[in-house]
């Protein structure tokens, strides 16, 4: 049986989000505490990419959130033009996919065997994964060039 702690999930989340932003977007992130003032701005619209992880003996979700305005800036940089909403959703989904891939890779190194689902991308106000019984839920919050990003991972062992 896998023994994952909250500390393990936090380390995995931090490595995944900082790795993807650094390698693919040449960005550095600063971790901030949950309930940081940036997260309380209700005028900000976010793109959410939710990726399911399904495996033998465990399952979970990875939720990545990025403000639409920051995704727009990244799209201009990557595409050389303003992305339309579908392109922004595509960007958020692909970043969520890469981050989840790194999360899965780290979980694999401690014995996880399973698959990544397809990212489901939505938009709106900030979301939070609801903690479930017998699960470990890790919330991490980040600032990048003044924009608030988040990565939440929920991990639960299956009961048979």
């Amino acid at each position: 049986m896998l023994k994952i702690t909250l500390g393990d999930l936090h380390r995995i989340a931090a490595g995944a989000i900082t790795g993807v932003l650094a390698i693919q977007l040449k960005r550095t992130l600063e971790e901030v505490t949950p309930n940081h003032e940036y997260q309380k701005d209700i005028s900000v619209t976010y793109l959410h990419a939710l990726v399911p992880l399904t495996g033998m003996g465990m399952n979970g979700e990875v939720l990545f959130q990025i403000p639409v305005v920051f995704a727009t800036m990244l799209a201009i940089e990557l595409l050389g033009k303003n992305g339309d909403i579908e392109e922004l959703r595509d960007l958020a989904g692909e970043l969520g996919n890469m981050i989840s891939g790194m999360v899965k890779s780290e979980l694999t190194s401690v014995g996880f065997s399973g698959t990544l689902g397809t990212p489901v991308v939505t938009s709106g106000s900030r979301k939070t994964l609801r903690a479930e019984t017998n699960s470990i839920l890790c919330h991490t919050e980040w600032l990048c060039e003044g924009h608030s990003l988040s990565l939440h991972i929920q991990y639960r062992e299956n009961s048979f």
């Binding site: 790795g19 993807v20 390698i23 693919q24 799209a75 990557l78 595409l79 050389g80 579908e86 392109e87 595509d90 960007l91 989904g93 692909e94 996919n97 890469m98 989840s100 891939g101 790194m102 899965k104 890779s105 694999t108 698959t115 990544l116 397809t118």
Partner: protein
């Protein structure tokens, strides 16, 4: 001969990133959003290199590779797999299907260029050869 590169990914963003990455080089670029489209483009254009994602709707990268290897005209086409999935099972499957190289996302652009240039001649465009 100007090399032809086919990029296959359901993410338009990734396809556009790859187009931007290769556009300074003398090559013809083609795109497909899934394995089925990719087989159609490959059959028509006979690319010299395919950069292929794994997890795609309609037809995934492994199914596309299997079809490619069964096509007499396309079976030797070099393929670089570019995917967020780094599972040992996938690597072993695509290795058996003869992929030339494997990269995980997120990817360093210069590493992908280096891998591509080991397969095809990538020559920088001169000012009168702009894409």
């Amino acid at each position: 001969m100007i090399p032809k590169i086919l990029t296959v990914d359901d993410s338009k963003m990734i396809r556009m990133m790859l187009t931007r990455l290769f556009s300074p080089y003398l090559c013809e670029l083609y795109e497909a959003g899934n394995g089925e489209e990719a087989l159609e483009v490959a059959g028509r254009e006979k690319p010299n290199l395919i950069i292929l994602d794994y997890n795609m709707p309609v037809m995934d990268g492994v199914t596309m590779l299997r079809n490619l290897r069964e096509d007499e005209a396309l079976r030797k086409t070099p393929v670089i797999l570019l995917t967020a999935d780094s599972s040992a099972g996938l690597i072993s499957t695509v290795a058996r299907l003869g992929v030339r190289d494997y990269m995980t996302k997120p990817f360093h652009e210069e590493q992908l260029l280096a891998k591509a240039s080991r397969i095809i001649d990538l020559m920088r465009r001169t000012p009168d050869q702009t894409a």
